[in-house]
């Protein structure tokens, strides 16, 4: 199994979720994160004091999928999250050794 980590623009969240679901992914977990990269943050100025906000709001999606489904899932995210502008984000793939569904105790691909 693979853990697919995608960092995307917040307003793309629903598009990406739908794309993943269409690609057969049945579950995923989302966190609000702040990103640093080529896309730079805003500067906020309050009474003359500048605060460089170095981070840009992003969302991180994590979905564990079957080895076979990984490539398709990556493609789905890529297609749905792209705007072509800087800051579109990244996808990382990490190997997962085991998965468990807490409710049933199922393990492996059956747990996803």
């Amino acid at each position: 199994m693979k853990l697919i980590i995608a960092i995307v623009k917040p307003f793309k969240l629903d598009d990406v979720r739908e794309a993943l679901v269409s690609a057969g992914v049945e579950g995923l977990t989302v966190s609000e994160v702040k990103g640093y990269g080529r896309q730079k943050g805003q500067t906020e100025i309050y009474r003359g004091a500048e605060y460089q906000v170095n981070f840009v709001p992003k969302v991180k999606l994590e979905a564990v999928v079957d080895d076979a489904a990984a490539a398709k899932a990556v493609e789905a995210i890529k297609a749905a999250a792209a705007t072509g502008k800087i800051g579109d984000g990244k996808i990382f793939v990490v190997n997962v050794e085991d998965a468990v569904r807490i409710r049933t105790g199922e393990t492996g691909a059956a747990a996803l």
């Binding site: 100025i45 309050y46 009474r47 003359g48 004091a49 605060y51 460089q52």
Partner: protein
Amino acid sequence: MMSLKFKGLAGLMLAAAIVGAPVASAWAQEAPPPAEAMMEAPAEEAAPIAEAAPVEEAAVEEEVATIDAGDTAWMLTSTALVLMMTIPGLALFYGGMVRKKNVIATVAQSFAITAVMSVLWMVVGYSLAFSENSNPALQPFVGGLSNAFLAGVAYDGVSGTIPEYLFVVFQMTFFIITPALITGAFAERMKFSAMLMFMVLWSLVVYAPVCHWIWGGGFLSDEGVLDFAGGTVVHINAGVAGLVCAIVLGKRKGYGVDNMAPHNLVLTMIGAAMLWVGWFGFNAGSALAANGLAAVAMLNTQVAAAGAILSWLVIEWVERKKPGMLGMASGAIAGLVAITPAAGFVSPQGALIIGLVGGAAAYVGAVWLKKLLKYDDSLDVFGVHGIAGIVGAILTGVLADAVIAGEETAAAANAGTQFIGVLGTVAWSGIASFVILMICKFTVGLRVSEEEEVEGLDLSQHGESVHS
């Protein structure tokens, strides 16, 4: 931890002793007259204010002072409005500007000050500010102790056309808000215990006398200094004390490096709005009656606040490219401060000018001056209250209108006299604040530890935090 706090309490008691000693001896010397004999006095004491604020009918000079229900109704309302300025108004105005980890501590300061000052005013503050000092050599500088614990303030006493007790509680709200204003200068770094100790001493050693100078028949009122609702007594006074605090305490850890952006400008907006609404009680209430003077003071207040917002907005739009909510809130307060000394002396047209100038001046104070001089006046108490207060005080001398202020007052008014008032207040507030800070520093200590500052004052000072 325990011992730390007890050190705080001990310091507090020490402070009380320091203040208490002369108070006690003065008390002994003065042999306050029995309550009955005092009954007339307060009406006289209130007179300087009445003089400074010419009312249409010279009610106070009537033979038998009686209560007017209409005037009383308005002053009851005004008292509620001015209390609302501090809590929740000022608490939120400041609370929204700090980082989230310090918001509870920041609002707690205003709340605690409200409690402490209310009791202190009753105990001795009112007396020091408004009673006649039986020692004529001291009377120009500070009141006596004859009204301590409100001795000699009678249920059927009349102050102008309102009950004397009402005058006491109305003025109490000014005694509350002035120290609360100072807290903005040292936000996010002062110990709660030190803050309390500083405020107890400051309110007695600085506020009460300065209030006496101008409104209690002291030397500045004799000089003819005009201060309708507290531009000097409240705002310059607090602004200067704030500056001294900011300098003595030093910068917040990470100042200029860390992100110290206001965490919630919605809170600041609520606070600014409640300050604004409450300021009607502050300024129009200072007419001490529901009459034409109160009406013009209210209109002036509104127009000046609005004018100052426009000034700030335009300057900020040009300099910062975007006009901000914080800017508008700051402008509003600046305008309100600037019109405070003038509210019952100038015409609405004059008020608009004061607002426009006051807003611009405070922008200079809070944005340019602070940058230049590199002190960390966290929430710009000096930049906004100090600077706009000074500008307002001076302009009151220039723009006093014969129709509103009365011919005599208007003719006598001038920038020079006003400047004397400013100078006296700046000097006394500056020096005394410094000394008091030193006393606190070497008893309870002023600042929280670095670690506590990083953790936030909510947790370190109060063991509480916002869970959302």
